[in-house]
Symmetry: D4
Subunit: 223 residues, 8 copies
């Protein structure tokens, strides 16, 4: 990735050389950029690498502009993630499980899952397994235990990370989401809950940061 | 209960007449009172009622003074609850289950359990069933489901209330505790977590308020 | 209720078997769903149950789509609650009183009242009895005392729950609302106030969570 | 009052000339000062005025030192207020009512009441009238209505100010106290509650600031 | 004022009889009401009283509807206050000074000033005297000292109340405003600053609550 | 600057005489003012001074109105700063370096840089040198060390100020920005981070306050 | 580990079977337990396993009691960690680097380092490399890059995690510490800073939770 | 300064070469160090430099140990600052004014003043000029205006910085203090107030950080 494309919100500039060893794609953070800026950056990146280019937080209008300029673009409306170019076959060592508490966590989950896939990982989606219906989660216990990393995504009371942390022995990356209302305080309740997880092996990334969780999980999966 | 004994911290003055219908004992909040004050209040109460007198948050020194004045006092070191006089046989309709996440929640749990017993309830103690080891909790699922009310007590991430709320169909009274450190913020994390519980039938009382949870549970159990 | 309809924000998946014992209707949380999704879920639910289906937080556009698909829909603009199918006669043991501080609390109050009715409860609406005009509340003291559960709904300083808690001996479910401005902090002031209620028998649910309060009150009323 | 005695915590330097018009005594804030400093300041003040000197937040040891130096000192253990010299007969126009929610608010209440008396006001103490037992407060409604100013002191949920504000038509000065635990957050819950009072005529001073409330009430009472 | 018009946000129901003694006009809180509701309430009030009717927080569209129905309406765009009927000559004992830190505080100041005038008070507007240019404030020192009550309105760091509190010996009602950005946190910084005022005689009302400050000041001015 | 133009949000009234000694331009805070008000104020200022007039936080519509009235206006879309009249050659003693963590901090940075230039300072822009790619910052170490003051602008974790503080021996003015999401809490995380900087010589201004940082830096640069 | 020893604060009960696969020692959380309880639990654990037993947060008095009962105990005063029995040779795949900002972070760092060692990992201690003196950190860049996981421990502004995150391509576990004063708010500033890290691959555990970071790092190192 | 003495709380490691240019003394942060550690570090520093060594936050016991080892030590009880060796004559270009709101701010003020003196600055102490008695501050206006930098130290509402910022045209370094109670929240109110100062040229350091303010002021004074 060239200097112009380092991420100024949420993700840092990624050195090409170093990330190559992880199979990491190029990444452009799309939120604060115009369609023109995105198109220009992607063009420059495509000229210097064969790897796919990820553009995060791309709304529909920007996606259309990008598709017009780069026909090999695939954009997903839910996650708002655009992937330009072909995603290579996964080279991660195991599976990254992406679990969510409810369907409202879906956008963050898809950002995580699709980022992980673009970074060369196999992903198991285990959605809507919130702990208020614990049997739903337990039905997936074996699948969770087979994963090399679990990304646990939940808003509201954020208890999913703790219960999963008690079920598995692999690292668990917890992502609080801004889902909820009132005393959820835009994800603060879930964040505090996850920070206090009494299960071992759980760590936390920023609210709604599905992308960051996927990068971390991919690093672990490529160790 | 006479005017002098109404509770100024945490519990309100309780009208004798009304509470009698629930089998409620007299209650004195001991935290802000000297040993002499407690002894005097208890003496006056004993003169006007046959029911037992509860004194909450009594430390050891005050307990000794009370025992010297009222030999029929039983004081529990863990819950710091003193009961003066004989507790009548339970007249509540079902069982109140008191569940905790870990042993550090024990003092709050015993305050709840012993208060509930003194108010005429049968209590099932289901301790140390934190959700990071979900099998421990599930092993008690039937016992929880047989309860008429569950008091769910937990600090840290406070997830216990939600998981129990998904297992039972009776009311769940959640008590956040100040157990934990760092981002637990003296119970705030557990409080927010419990307020956001995505299980139906869960409501929350103040941090460490085992007494208040027991009074509410007893009211429900005597309906 | 089938798996697709469990509530991901604010309410948990509800097992049909268990809830049947309480006469609970099916519930769909409408806020995060499109009109099409709501229509599809309701259709599937209607095919599998004779009970009414509640859809919460439905705006007018979605309500119209639902009414077009399901003519037996009744939608209330204030509470944004849609009820599909006939509400059976109440089978709860007593009356649930729903009290509010002011007219601005009306939407939350109607969500609570109509949910409670759909779940098989008789409801007494005692609105606009804020404690700044205490005679208004006292004029309803007998009606409050006759209730089996009281839902106390208030924003601003949230004092209603405490005063009611001192008037009645039944359980009081307090609902802070986001009514107010400035130091109300979107319901935080009312929430903290209610958490600190010095009346016994009061517990608290999330800000604006009229639905959750009604489910809890209904459970208590069906014990 | 000379320059050395202006108050650096909580109260400002008070110009002698101006305050004389209100009958205000001299005031020394004792919390951050040694016994020697207090004795020296009081001696200097006594040399320049015939009015009594108030010293606030004086602990027992400092009180003894002060009494040894100034035999005309009266110190009250509860309020920790020392008054040196004779308090003149009240010259305020009406009565200042000091109301509290519970006995734990007593220290703040006595600081307010004794300060008001030293500043030349008649004071009606209406203690332990917390709103969880509303009949206690209503029994004093006439007395409250006869007051020219009411100081309403309460911790926990702080609802007292609102209910009194609805009963009287005079100014109400609300004092949140740090009484309580857990979600009381050292008086924050009461402060927010009082700031959101939906009764007209209520304003708020700092947590536990009985002195400040009394100065304000005295100013109003001497208008 | 009839039962329908009691204020549910920010102000309590006001008993006609009591408020008459203060010359208080009728008050309707307009924010949460439709134009139709406001018109209906005002019509009913006008039928039962000769006093003017205040409607607060009325936007332009509602103001037009009100004017169409009640030609004797005067609406002020800045304060969004509508006064229906003639304001009687002032009967307060002194002058209420309304001081602001900057022009952005103007809307709150005008709500305070016009409310005070409608309640029968003479008002001195002392605007744009923020303490960062202290000479501006000092130029008005005599005018402030002549006031019977001062309403000090400021956002940002809220220091105005303290400096005025040190200049005058009358009561000071401080109104924090939501003016500012960043660490102003929508008025929280000003609120905390004013709560900690080290000047005597200062008390605080809610953020942006010009109306409430005026009601309190009017009560003091009519004592 | 005349009385009408003092800044009510964020900046104080600036005395012409005093500021002249620093070469300070006139400043009008544009956010809370209409286009007409801005045009009128600028006209009055231009009549009384030869110095340029700065208008901050001017959106495009207001900029057009200003340009129509004052053809010598230059408006910058990114910083929303309008400068009316010719900026004199710099007379500051050294260079003010303006450093940012990422491109999203650009608007605040340009407000700082252009304000500093208009106040008579040479500015070195060192943008996009966030500490997650430390080599980018180190590549500018010599340029930073040559500066007389550094303005360090960053959102998210705000670490830039600390690292720069360790590289230079001149004063560092830190500006937290509201860039970020989730636990950035609109700049609070960066603000707290910068307040805790463990590098000497760092002080902090309000979130997004590029203007204030530039005024301070200019004062230092003109000492 | 038997049921009695599961951790109720901060760490969950660990199933022996599962953890064996990671070479995990037994763990007892010592903070909330008496010396007698610790000794009894350790004795029971030693009877059932050959692995070492870790006891965390053990003060000196408890350490002496433990040493008297279990001569094979090694206690470290700084980290307050006791290890009973011999630590087996490391079987982790790489090195865990433990980096700190300053010497005050040492206790948390040693808890992390010694826990990691007891769990079978080689540890590289890279202490006192706070970012205010960036050359200190850069001098260790190669050592950090050779690590398989980095634990970055810092209080105050917590910037260490971000800078390290930009230097390495392995996972970084960030531990905020409660070091600091004032606006550090007992670790909150560092926690928020780390949550907002703009470097990829960084996740966060609770304030001062060196133990939890080590368990997570060990899991990653044993993958 | 050698590597052992870099400051881990509050101040960064300072490179000797660079700081020499400012006349900076060596600095050791004493709070987290034992008397033995302090003595050893000071001895090593004295062996390598002729400049004085500052040790901050030294309590009396440590001061005695230091004096025993280094007879050329001067320790000030109020500021808890120890200076070992002779302070050279001031070489700063102007005067640093240190102003405080009240006597309770004295410890922080003396830490600032004595640090500034040890770093080669002339200091003007302007104490007890809180804005609640504005004439006290104005009496020092000329002295403040003659300063090259002003350090404004205040707790409570922290308004001092703003008023001074409006009086002077030099840089103002604001230091919030933890003086106060209740809603002062340990300095948070003053910090927020100062961050929102509407005077130009004001920036803020951490709560109670007199040392940091002095280092910054000294840097400015040596430019």
């Amino acid at each position: 990735m060239t200097g112009d494309t380092f991420e100024d919100i949420g993700f840092a500039k990624v050195d090409t050389g170093r990330e190559l060893r992880q199979g990491l794609a190029e990444v452009v953070y799309g939120a604060g950029k115009t369609a023109d800026e995105i198109v220009a950056i992607v063009a420059r990146l495509k000229a210097s690498t064969r790897r796919p280019v990820l553009v995060t937080r791309v709304d529909e209008a920007k996606a259309r502009a990008l598709l017009a300029a780069e026909p090999a673009t695939h954009w997903d409306a839910k996650s708002r993630l655009a992937v330009v170019g072909e995603v290579p076959p996964p080279d991660g060592k195991g599976v990254i499980a992406v679990a969510t508490g409810g369907t409202s966590d879906g956008a963050v989950a898809e950002e995580a899952a699709r980022t992980a896939e673009a970074l060369g990982n196999r992903v198991a989606r285990i959605y809507d397994v919130g702990v208020a219906g614990i049997h739903r989660l337990l039905a997936h216990a074996d699948e969770l235990r087979r994963a090399r990393v679990v990304i646990a995504i939940a808003g509201m009371e954020g208890a999913l990370a703790t219960v999963i942390g008690g079920l598995v022995s692999c690292p668990v990356v917890a992502v609080p989401t801004s889902v909820g209302y009132g005393a959820a305080f835009d994800g603060l309740a879930a964040l505090l809950s996850m920070m206090n997880s009494c299960a071992p092996g759980v760590s936390v990334v920023n609210i709604d940061n599905g992308f960051g969780a996927a990068v971390l999980a991919s690093r672990i999966n490529h160790l």
